[in-house]
Symmetry: C2
């Protein structure tokens, strides 16, 4: 048994090691611009079809093109081609970091070495012609609540007068399981959900949500699985996290508020969760790693990342941007997240729960301390009390039918380059007509 | 929009139609005893291996034998053999009620008609030689909280002084998503989980749970999937629910109590959920259907099953038995559950969330009004205040290492026969030693 309280004060965190000297990013034979977010420093994976071929293929985004990795490995990396045959990332995810590194190195070589050009060039599809698919089969989906600013804002809004953070919040990354079956790829329209809500006069009704919201989050895709009963210590997280994507965890605040005590969010979240089509390998984010913020109290040992040399830093310096109908409404900073992805994974598995390839865990809404860094409308409009003014003269408290939300992000890469994440995009469609119950059996 | 409040009083529920006259259950050429719970009236499906053949096969339990359905369909029902080729129920689940009925009728015929005996008899495996496997790939797992007695008991224990039921409880089936990846088949040992808990003096520690519990539940296995955006009305539930199993939703009460506000249960539940190996088709439970209890207030229309003729009754008269180390400690009655499975499914999909073949939803702990009908130790021992005395002279507040929990059930079948559910069994193993973090990188 280990005890957290009382604990010594948090020691000053040692300085992170100096970053490696900038290395120029090769332009490859495509002649990619040094500032392209999908340059050779990024090489994110996805799944796509094309108008002339409905068969799903694994792709790697490079510049304005998508490399057909299913075809390329069949031609150039036959020992790993079976991993990509079904056109999803499922096979690759389950292998582990050695294979991930081997495939990434091979793809890089194909795009740099002129000797591969004749083989590879015909396998490049214009990005505009590649229709993204959900890149992997989502096994379990866990959503955390790891931003102190977001949790504080929600606590102030939903439980005014009390301590905005619940007593457990600084002791563990709070999270819950979401619905894996309704994770959808960017571009999928989101139909306004129906559900129960309680009016201020306590009347209970059922109908289309009136308080539909977005949540700007960062998602982590688990690759290498674990055995039941084997927690993942902080130092092992990078052997299990394959990559990073963007997440919009759509939320119906009126449904959520009425249902969530005592068992947590359910229908207020389970209608849709959108993810970006391109999974950025963790290997691409070496230059984005930053020290996490200090924590008080010092976390229990299984969550304590302040020990010198125990781990490389797991804060990630991602700059998010949220746009509503083309107007930037927020720029949430991911770097300061209170609980890191490694801590989230260590906590998620601390009870022995096994990981499967395709498990997805998300950070929870990312919010910074400034108003224009809040990652959800309930925060931006302070639960509707302070409508958000858009440059087109309109106002928003919550999302209207037809609204389109786009979340993008980038992170520092080598040699001054940026790592792009693409975008997660979704438009709100009106609620469907209420289903008419079919007639009962005769009699 | 539909409004619930104010609503007219609940009208008296019409009498359920009289049960069909008893039909004798055929003994088949196996000569099955009329009172065998796995007679031809039951025919539950599972997945198994045998010591001499590690390849998974779909099985149907009949008497003291298991019919190898993968082999039998290959020989006798070739048009559906592909559904069973992988040795799981995944293929069959996804088809729908017409195919479910066709296969069930075929299996019945094979076991009744002497003409099939020569083909089928060699495909019967002694039940003792069939090693059960998880019968289907669990897609999403949802756990409800549908027993009024259980929810009331938990409210009294965890929130003394207040109203034991939260204000939403009588308006909707409260539920949450659990971890699909840690659903295990009966017989799998359950390692005591580690986790965070808060002591009465507010000290936070991490270690093996001291309040490990069982929860006796009934699970519903979804077969036919739905499209996103299409709720399942009450009358359609039987087109989507393939069958019924028993569930032990193991719970670490100390972890759960510390973590669950505000986002619900997480690590206190996610370490293991055990299911029985045999899925009893809904088609076998026609004689077990009973009227659900009256509800006040009357539920909103999408949950209202009191309209005459709108639906056949969805209460199910299952008698559960919970044994601890061989001693019966509880007999929870399922028939009186406040929210039925059809209501749970209608609610789960009311926001448009799609269903996938393999979705599992469970009732939540089944507890009756009597003390010896409580479906969990936290209720039986009233949170440890009233230790449960076992006939061997020992006492239990929560589970000890080595304890074995077995949940069984049966339901009325045709002609006075009973429908058996088999059992879900699990033994508690001691917590594993705390993982020692590997040494950090040099420097």
């Amino acid at each position: 048994m280990t005890t957290a309280s009382p604990q010594p004060a948090v020691p000053p965190r040692p300085e992170a090691p100096p970053p490696p000297p900038p290395a120029p990013v090769p332009a490859g034979w495509l002649g990619l611009a040094a500032d392209h977010p999908f340059g050779l420093q990024t090489l994110p994976y996805g799944s796509f079809t094309t108008p002339d071929a409905g068969r799903p293929r694994v792709g790697v985004a490079v510049g304005e093109r998508v490399l057909d990795v299913t075809a390329a490995t069949a031609a150039l990396l036959p020992e790993h081609a079976a991993l990509f045959a079904d056109g999803t990332l499922d096979g690759l995810l389950g292998t582990g970091p050695e294979t991930w590194a081997r495939v990434r190195a091979a793809v890089t070589e194909w795009l740099v070495d002129e000797r591969h050009r004749a083989t590879v060039q015909p396998l490049l599809v214009p990005a505009a012609a590649a229709r993204p698919r959900l890149p992997f089969t989502v096994a379990d989906y866990v959503d955390f609540y790891a931003s102190e600013q977001h949790a504080t804002n929600l606590g102030r809004i939903l439980r005014p007068g009390g301590d905005p953070l619940t007593p457990n919040w600084r002791h563990m990354p709070i999270g819950y399981h979401g619905r894996a079956g309704t994770v959808v790829v960017s571009g999928t329209p989101v139909v306004r959900p129906r559900g129960q809500r309680r009016a201020p006069d306590d009347a209970i009704s059922h109908g289309p949500s009136r308080r539909l919201d977005f949540e700007a989050e960062v998602g982590f895709v688990v690759g290498a699985p674990t055995e039941q009963g084997r927690p993942v210590p902080l130092a092992d997280a990078e052997r299990h996290v394959f990559g990073v994507c963007l997440v919009n965890d759509w939320s119906a605040r009126d449904l959520q508020a009425w249902e969530y005590v005592p068992l947590g969010p359910f229908l207020g979240k389970s209608f849709a969760t959108s993810v970006s089509p391109w999974i950025v390998p963790l290997a691409a984010l070496r230059h984005a790693r930053v020290a996490p913020p200090p924590r008080d109290p010092r976390p229990l040992p299984y969550l304590d990342d302040s020990a010198p040399g125990a781990d490389q830093p797991w804060g990630l310096d991602l700059d998010l941007t949220v746009s509503l109908n083309g107007h930037v409404v927020s720029r949430p900073p991911f770097a300061g997240l209170y609980w890191t992805a490694a801590q989230q994974l260590a906590h998620l598995t601390a009870n022995g729960a096994r990981l499967r390839a395709g498990d997805l865990f998300a950070s929870g809404t990312v919010s910074g301390p400034e108003r224009d860094q809040r990652g959800s409308l309930i925060e931006l409009s302070w639960n509707g009390a302070e409508p958000l003014k858009l440059p087109d003269g309109s106002e928003r408290t919550f999302l209207q039918d037809g609204d389109e939300v786009v979340i993008t992000a980038s992170a520092p890469g080598p040699g001054g380059a940026r790592i792009g994440f693409g975008e997660v995009r979704g438009r709100v469609l009106p609620a469907l007509p209420e289903a008419v119950p079919p007639p009962g059996p005769p009699g």
